[in-house]
Symmetry: C2
């Protein structure tokens, strides 16, 4: 039986163009919702976090439907079906989708995917779902790896970056991760099989790139932007592909202002190399989601990709989990677990 | 009979990171050279100018072989064969290639192309050769126009831009040119058939783009960089292609310094649109030169492309011709004619 009330996080402030703070979030108690026809009641087991959620909270152009103060915070996660009025779902089914920050979500059945056989929910959220689809599709469809390519990844210890590196190894690339701190770098090489790393906090990115990529960078997978992007643009190989997937360095600026940080002045090197800079946004690749899901699930089952989520415990830690992303606090996919086990 | 001496322009200063000035050039008299085996003596009829020639004079990375003070200035042009020791050429042949700034050039036969039947030398230089190949290949192979696309061109009244617009019309695009001044804009619409123009000196580029491209820009062909590039990046359509062909706004900076102007801060819009920014450099497309040459020659003969070179008279005006490019002085391809007719 489901309880009569549940806890949920609501938007208390729009963080337009400044870092998130605790007062942007309000924990409230709400009545339990009932599923209508075609709907499913999901008990949340995990919430998943990504930097774009800050943009959702500030109604940045190009992202989700607008939110207002007092709305439940939109997000993503996984859970167990508690009640179903949709013929495709039964109580006990393990599902994932765009769950909001609440203990129970009423969702249309069409908005949910079932967790594949043999892939636990925390692995679904860290290796498949948003981050996995993004890593697989952005690398494969935009980066277009060729065996032997040198693949450089910024934000390599993040949820997407740590997967891109593992997929790049499967595709036959030499994989170099850029991350902040010796501990993250050691994790990338020792646990995830990266070939080399650059610690941007302790090393000079430009000179390390020169050492590690004497023949240039064939694919740059960028989650960071700013000076790291600019430095890699100076080292592109002929016909290089630069995948713009994110720009954590830009999240604390109001995109509507003129104060956005400057773009990469080395962009003009694309002329000398014939290189391509292309953006990636997952919704443009919806028809390829089944391909991504099937391959990723197979690689998790095979043990070729390791799910290494970064877990916080309890829904009360959801704001802290989101804020960690902007401090570089997480290593791998940031999740919050709502149950004890 | 050829004279015993000839005039030639030599490099007297490297304009590293500053505008060109008259003292960078020295007009000298040199002995006539004799063609060796396999070589051809060409009497220069026209010299052709492009912004990259400044980079050649300052030995910028990514361009031609280095030059030193006192060297004859490398360039391109067209002329008449005066003497030949190459079996493929005979006196009187009309040829074009990388002629230096001198009245007579000795060239290996392999470095020369013959002017096609029915295309006068000034049309060869303005519609084919460097500018034409660049316009055709950068638009077709990187821009990849689809009939119905909205094509926006910066530096539209320049040698390359004015051709890109005409080729874009042949490909079925709606063509919008950005140029400086009402006179250039009128020339683009009235003589060259552009659909609309934006005078960046007299109009607000951003608001004019909003008016003229309500559904966004499918192809942006950029010869300018700077704020114009940034403004267009804010108006990209889904899956837009941005062709980086040049950046006249960057030529008066030393590329080795940290003072290069910032890149376009709106680059991140490629994420929301899935757009591609790709560079073009003609030597990467050598195998496509015959295709470009054949199509362009055909369109000149058909009258579908108009050659509208901007002519100065006399080799003594070569430095002025090059400097005009950076002042926006030219309309169409800048040439210097060495003979009276």
């Amino acid at each position: 039986m489901t309880p009569k009330t549940q806890r949920e996080w609501r938007i208390a402030g729009h963080p337009d163009g400044r870092p998130l703070k605790a007062s942007d979030f309000e924990l409230a108690t709400a009545p339990m919702a009932e599923p209508g026809p075609g709907e499913v009641l999901v008990a949340t087991r995990y919430l998943a976090f990504e930097p774009a959620q800050k943009s959702w909270m500030e109604n940045a152009a190009g992202y989700k439907a607008p939110v207002k103060i007092g709305d439940v915070i939109p997000g993503s996660g996984a859970g167990v079906v508690a009640a179903s009025r949709h013929p495709g779902f039964a109580p006990g089914d393990l599902v994932y989708g765009d769950l909001s920050w609440r203990e129970f979500n009423v969702m249309p059945g069409e908005a949910l995917d079932k967790a594949p056989e043999g892939v636990p929910l925390d692995a679904v959220l860290s290796v498949m779902a948003g981050s996995g689809r993004t890593a697989y599709l952005a690398l494969m469809k935009v980066g277009r790896p060729v065996a032997g390519d040198t693949l450089v990844i910024s934000g390599a210890a993040g949820a997407v970056g740590s997967l891109v590196g593992q997929i790049g190894k499967i595709a036959g690339c030499r994989v170099i991760g850029i991350a902040g701190g010796a501990e993250k770098c050691a994790w990338l090489t020792d646990e995830l099989g990266f070939d080399a790393t650059i610690d941007y906090k302790g090393e000079k990115v430009r000179s390390r790139l020169r050492e590690l990529c004497p023949a240039g960078v064939d694919i740059f997978f960028d989650n960071v932007g700013g000076e790291i992007l600019n430095d890699v643009l100076a080292r592109l190989a002929l016909k290089a592909r630069v995948v713009i997937c994110g720009a954590i360095s830009r999240y604390n600026f109001d995109p509507r202002s003129e104060e956005m940080p400057p773009g990469p002045r080395n962009y003009f090197n694309v002329v000398f190399t014939g290189a391509t800079i292309q953006g990636f946004l997952a919704p443009h690749y919806r028809r390829d989601f089944p391909e991504a899901d099937a391959r990723l699930a197979g690689w998790v089952r095979d043990g070729r990709i390791m799910a290494r989520p970064d877990l916080l415990q309890g829904i009360e830690n959801a704001p802290a989990a989101l804020m960690r992303l902007f401090e570089g606090g997480n290593r791998g996919k940031q999740l919050v677990r709502l149950t004890e086990t």
